[in-house]
């Protein structure tokens, strides 16, 4: 972890307390998790207690204190997606990857998460892979996508 980068991020937000969550997002985007060292730097520069930063980092679902996988898979479990079969897709992915939401596969290839609404309900059930949204999902489609990713093939969005 590069201290220079962390400091750059903090400077981008002018050391404002109101930007704490944005700072944490940027650090997480950079390092795939929130390193303890980074939080200590933030605490010192924002003049907050490490304890308060730790509380914030563990309160919000988007943050992880442990390194995540190469590919981040997020399944939407919002009501509309739920009614259209979101949980089935989650079950399929769970049995494929053998991990629970919030966990990362031992080979560090995949991290699985759930989210409670991505705001694209009309095309549900929705799955997000590495920040890209895929609608009209089914357990079968999801399985095929993960298998493709495992073999390191790129897939772009589009009507299937």
């Amino acid at each position: 972890m590069d201290i220079v980068n962390v400091n750059k991020i903090i400077e981008k937000y002018q050391e404002k307390r109101t930007a704490l969550i944005s700072i944490l997002h940027d650090i997480q985007d950079r390092y795939q998790f929130l390193p303890e060292e980074a939080l200590k730097i933030i605490a010192s520069r924002l003049r907050m207690n490490l304890n308060e930063i730790y509380g914030v980092a563990t309160f919000y679902k988007s943050f992880s204190l442990i390194p995540k996988g190469k590919h981040s898979i997020t399944i939407c479990l919002g009501t509309a997606c739920h009614v259209r079969g979101g949980p089935k897709i989650l079950r399929e992915i769970r049995s494929l990857l053998k991990i629970k939401p919030g966990e990362t596969t031992p080979d560090r290839k995949f991290s699985l998460n759930t989210v409670n609404c991505l705001g694209v309900c009309a095309i549900g059930p929705v799955m997000m892979i590495d920040g890209k949204f895929y609608g009209d999902m089914s357990p079968l489609k999801a399985k095929r996508m993960i298998e493709k990713l495992s073999k390191n093939t790129k897939k772009s969005g589009g009507r299937s």
Binding site: R17, T18, A19, L20, I21, S22, L24, H25, L46, M48, E52, G55, V56, F59, Y60, K61, S62, F63, L77, G78, T79, A80, C81, H82, V83, R84, G85, K88, R91, E92, S95, V115, N116, C117, L118, G119, V120, C121, A122, I123, G124, V126, G131, K132, F133, Y134, G135, S138, P139, L140, S156, G157, G158, R159
Partner: protein, 615 residues
């Protein structure tokens, strides 16, 4: 981009933009909302740019607009002035659109919206049943402007309302107009906006904050995303008018981080407004100064609650606090703070432009104006629907929504998100407004409307909502933290056939105490989905006590089998079954081995003859 220092500067800019517009003969709008992104709209936009350049098409203006709200039909491409609406456009259709429709005026039938029942096709947006019955006032410009271009917004009259407010009205006058309009908060609680503004204005202290709540935590609701993504300047304009009326100096737009495009577009809009002199010090040459920043959420539904939202902006965990003293007096950093929902802010420029009389002529006696609903779930036409308050559930779900999606009859609609309740189809003649739905145990909430059919298990729905709230609870107060956990356990047991009559009684008792003693709105309204489901669908709950799930959803209670009459022996199900639980011979009826069946539903998905029975 220019910096405007006075009202006349603004008007001159607008005239210049309009003049430039006249140079174009055709305007092609490609929807760039998040939903359409998932279907590759960016590739379509790029293909248009490439093809137009390569083939030397002239006088075409291409716009990458905001969310049009008809996401399931995306990608959407509209053409003006011909008023052609193309849906489910693929990249390979782009050259055809240019060569056939633009050049030769020929309509591409396969891209038109087709009613699945009547098979009739519609060319213009205004004729499509989904759009016809709507009254799109707030969403009107979403398809006409590129959200990242302030010039587009100015061209359509943007910031005129703010200029009117700033130069022709006094702050108290503005507040009186908003009061007279009858506008009530669109975030869910429905508090009279004008009253809130007045209370904030009268609060002691010179430094006041203005906040826009775009946390939109209700799963199934995405109106705010569409607004902030598609027309961010309309929100800024609303906030400017509010800041001027209340005396606000700084503002924040709190955006949930699950909306990266809305965040990005809002940031661009803020930068542009600053450059143009519409945000910052001495706006338009007056002594009114106001600036806005984006504050991001971190993935917590509770942060939609005003005191939790404030805590979040202050860099703390989103823990609500007692609301005996409201945010308008003691809010962000202890200063008077006015928080309004995105949709509420979007209404303000319209009210100032057209007047409170115009606004209050729409809607019902106590619920004025239009409301945007996100109609999703088991209905044919899903998307964002803007209608006048007072329209009935039936009209929204059947006339606009087109009725049931999978052929199964509609059973209920869930409104108001996790704070709302389930309304059975027998009550669909109810008008939708702030008060009528409350009377039957639900609420309009922020506008989420999730349609459920006979294939939806209401016990499962109740379990879903409680589980959602249990996960989202901040954990500060005992009734919410422990009470929801216990309600979740009871519902889990019910869906596994492990409940008894006592369980239902306990659910109600717990629900009442959680509602009575919870600290914040999350806990106070948490029991609503469960209690309303129990009220209107008690037979379904009682069936679960008998270890039956009538809707065929709760896994431990259902049984998969193959119909002898429908099975044609193709073997597709056996191939797809992950546990090899299906066996049979080609051309003969197949058979599911119950002990191996994990009820994943893959066989039902792949069977083309409807031969898989679930009971």
């Amino acid at each position: 981009m220019r910096k405007i220092k006075s009202l006349s500067d603004l008007e001159k800019w607008r005239k210049d933009i309009l003049r430039k517009q006249d140079e174009f003969e055709t305007i092609i709008s490609v929807c760039g909302g998040t939903g359409c992104h998932a279907y590759g709209c960016k590739n379509i936009k790029d293909r248009f740019i490439k093809t137009i350049k390569e083939n030397g098409y002239q006088k075409i203006k291409l716009r990458f607009t905001g969310c049009r709200g008809f996401c399931e039909r995306g990608p959407i491409v509209t053409i003006q002035p011909q008023e052609i609406f193309y849906q489910r456009v693929k990249e390979k259709d782009v050259p055809l659109i240019l060569s056939e429709t633009i050049k030769k005026g020929k309509i591409l039938e396969h891209l038109l919206y087709e009613d699945s029942m009547t098979k009739s096709r519609f060319i213009s947006e205004k004729d499509i049943p989904f759009y016809k019955a709507q009254k799109r006032l707030i969403l009107a410009n979403n398809g006409l402007i590129e959200p990242t271009k302030i010039e587009d917004y100015i061209m359509l009259g943007g910031y005129q309302s703010f200029s009117k407010a700033l130069f022709e009205m006094e702050p108290q006058q503005i507040i009186d107009e908003v009061k007279a309009s009858g506008l009530r908060g669109r975030g869910g609680a429905g508090f009279p906006t004008g009253k809130k503004w007045e209370e904030c204005r009268n609060a002691t202290g010179k430094l006041k904050y203005i906040i826009c709540n775009c946390d939109e935590g209700d799963p199934g609701a995405y109106m705010d995303r569409s607004l902030l993504e598609g027309n961010p300047h309309s929100i800024l304009e609303g906030m400017l008018i509010g800041a001027y009326a209340i005396g606000g100096r700084y503002g924040y737009i709190y955006v949930r981080h699950e909306y990266p495009l809305a965040c990005k577009n809002a940031e661009i809009a803020i930068k542009q407004a600053r450059k143009a002199g519409l945000l910052g010090d001495n706006i338009l040459g007056t002594d009114f100064s106001f600036d806005v920043e984006i504050a991001k959420g971190g993935g917590a539904f509770v942060c939609g609650e005003s005191t939790a939202l404030i805590a979040s902006i202050e860099g703390r965990a989103g823990e609500p606090r007692s609301k005996q003293i409201h945010a308008v007096e003691d809010g962000l950093w202890g200063k008077p703070t006015n928080i309004n929902n995105v949709e509420t802010w979007a209404n303000i420029p319209l009210i100032i432009k057209n007047g409170s009389k115009w606004f209050s002529s729409i809607g019902t006696e106590k619920s004025k104006g239009t409301k945007i609903f996100s109609l999703v779930g088991k209905v044919k036409n899903t998307g964002l629907v803007e209608v006048p308050m007072g329209i009935t559930l039936k009209e929204i779900i059947f006339d606009i929504g087109g009725g049931p999606k999978d052929g199964k009859p509609i059973k209920a609609v869930q409104t108001g998100g996790p704070s709302g309740g389930c309304i059975p189809v027998s009550l669909f003649n109810l008008p939708v407004d702030f008060d009528s739905l409350k009377e039957v145990g639900s609420m309009m909430g922020s506008g989420g409307m999730i349609v459920m059919d006979e294939g939806t298990c209401m016990v499962d729905v109740a379990k879903y909502f409680i589980h959602f709230l249990e996960e989202e609870s901040c954990g500060k107060c005992l009734p919410c933290r422990e009470g929801l956990k216990r309600m979740s356990q009871i519902l889990e047991n019910l869906t596994e056939g492990k409940g008894d009559e006592e369980s239902l009684y306990l659910l109600e008792e717990l629900g009442q105490v959680v509602a009575d003693t919870s600290l914040c709105g999350l806990g106070k309204t948490a029991p609503n989905p469960v209690l309303s489901a129990l009220k209107y669908f008690r037979p379904e709950f009682e069936a679960h006590l008998d270890k039956r799930c009538p809707a065929g959803v709760c896994i431990p209670l259902i049984h998969y089998s193959i119909s002898e009459t429908n099975c044609i022996g193709c073997g597709a199900c056996a191939k797809i079954c992950p546990t090899k639980a299906i066996e049979g011979e080609k051309k003969e009826v197949y058979h599911i081995i119950s002990e191996l069946c994990i009820k994943c539903g893959s066989c039902r998905e792949i069977c083309k003859n409807d031969a898989i029975i679930v009971n």
